[in-house]
Amino acid sequence: MTAVTVKLTVNGREVELSLEPHERLVDVLRGRLGLTGTKMGCGEGECGACTVIMDGQAVLSCLMLAVQAEGGDILTIEGLAPDGSEAGLHPLQKAFVAEAAIQCGYCTPGMILTAKTLLERDPDPTPQVVKEAIAGNICRCTGYDKPVKAILAAAAEMRAAAQGTTAAATVTAAAIGAPEAVAVPGNVSTTTVAERGES
């Protein structure tokens, strides 16, 4: 076995790991970095529970070798609200709570991260676009209605925040920007993920 040295950024933190070629990204995130918010479902790219964001794109961490993430900028669900406070939650997370869009919760991290990349690409999606975007995130509690509502609600919240039209929206805007800025002061790469969106 030839170990491979891999450098990547995870939730704004640079990490260097010595990895064996067969190790999947999902196993490295969960097993080596302790980021168990990323869930392992089917292991074959069918369920979407292991979705993380790499370089602005939702990817399945069970269908990626960790060595392939060299130089990548990865965001897991932990990085979305790194201070762990309720106020610091991302608008999508708040909307999922408010809409009770969670049953067992296993699909939730993947669904939220997939939705984040959708809203970066399309801030005002139709319900159909939302459904298509989360088509690869399977909920076996079969609760799709509420996640769709939550994503649409978060989209509205984020648009309002972007326009700065209401006091409430201003508070939300601070909530979007604050966690990442607090966790990684001066870290350019995390900002880049948020700004770049999907190509």
């Binding site: 076995m1 030839t2 491979v4 070629p21 067969h22 999947r24 074959e44 790219g45 069918e46 979407g48 979705t51 794109q57 939702a58 990817v59 399945l60 069970c62 269908l63 990626m64 070798l65 060595v67 392939q68 060299e70 997939t114 459904k131 298509e132 975007a133 088509a135 690869g136 999907e198 190509s199």
Partner: protein
């Protein structure tokens, strides 16, 4: 005899030439990896050396003098949203096929090269590229050779790639569209799945490109997937169309001719009989859509 997926080495060559050199030295032990979305499902135990071809500069889409050149490492999601693809009434079937391949998460990693080289009989991009008359550029130890995609697929999961070779570019001829003439061209891609809104491999997939001039079909290509051991172009369907007006009975006859050329199997997704019947229906519908787009 190894039984688990435990590659001993992972290599990241910096150029196509270097990748080919590695591949040529150890052809039996190497497996190429780009997106990995098929490889990590198959987990081949014989893969001892993984050669990552995602960083070889093959990730570009370029429209130049009558050709669309798509690098083998272009992702399905990039193809789905590529401007030169979406803008052209024929090329757009590549984007349509890309948008129906797998899930969004798979599409962000899966590549066109991988979709073709796995040799799946149901490969969505293969069917679209066949209808467009694509060639593949193959780089190997003796340099670059070109091959019509129609010659590339040999059997289930078997392509014409020889030891040490890899697909580097997929090239699609693009005919200039002159709006001042009566000549029109358009394509359509249709995919039948067990549940139409679901994420699934095709039960049957069909792509067509149609050329109309003065109300007559001057040329047509119909490609079929998941109904034979390889995706293929139906010559009989094209023959049933050329020189005719796009009337209902003509499009229907082309569908029947295509269905007669299928060699489907029965499996978990559908029976052979159903696949053959649906080929006729999908080909007719795809042709109707292409005609509609020609006239739009």
């Amino acid at each position: 005899m190894r039984t688990t997926f435990r590659p001993a080495a992972y290599l990241r060559p910096g150029s196509v030439e270097e990748a080919v050199r590695i591949l040529t030295e150890e052809p039996e032990r190497c497996r190429l990896i780009a997106g990995g979305t098929d490889l990590l499902v198959q987990k081949p135990a014989e893969a001892e050396i993984l050669v990552d071809v995602a960083g070889l500069g093959l990730g570009k889409i370029a429209l130049t003098d009558g050709h669309l050149r798509v690098g083998a490492a272009v992702t399905v999601a990039e193809l789905e949203r590529a401007e030169p693809v979406l803008r052209h009434p024929c090329l757009t079937i590549l984007a349509e096929a890309a948008g129906m391949l797998g899930t969004p998460g798979v599409r962000n990693r899966a590549t066109i090269g991988g979709n073709l080289c796995n040799g799946s009989p149901a490969a969505d991009l293969a069917v679209a590229a066949l209808a467009l008359g694509a060639d593949v550029e193959i780089t190997g130890p003796h340099g670059v050779r070109r091959m019509p995609l129609t010659d590339f697929f040999r059997d289930v999961n078997l392509t014409a790639l020889e030891s040490g070779e890899m697909v580097s570019v997929v090239e699609v001829p693009v005919e200039p569209l002159d709006p001042t003439t009566a000549a029109r061209a358009a394509g359509a891609f249709f995919k039948l799945r067990r549940h139409q809104s679901s994420v699934d491999i095709a039960t049957v997939n069909v792509a067509t490109v149609l050329y109309l001039d003065g109300g007559v079909i001057t040329d047509a290509r119909v490609a079929l997937g998941a109904v034979a051991e390889v995706p293929f172009v139906s010559e009989a369907a094209a023959a049933a169309l050329a020189g005719h007006e796009p009337l209902d009975e003509v499009l229907r006859a082309a569908g029947a001719a295509a269905a007669a050329e299928t060699r489907p199997i029965s499996d978990i997704r559908a029976s052979a009989e159903y696949r053959r019947e649906m080929t006729a229906v999908l080909v007719r519908r795809a042709l109707e859509e292409a005609v509609r787009r020609c006239r739009a």
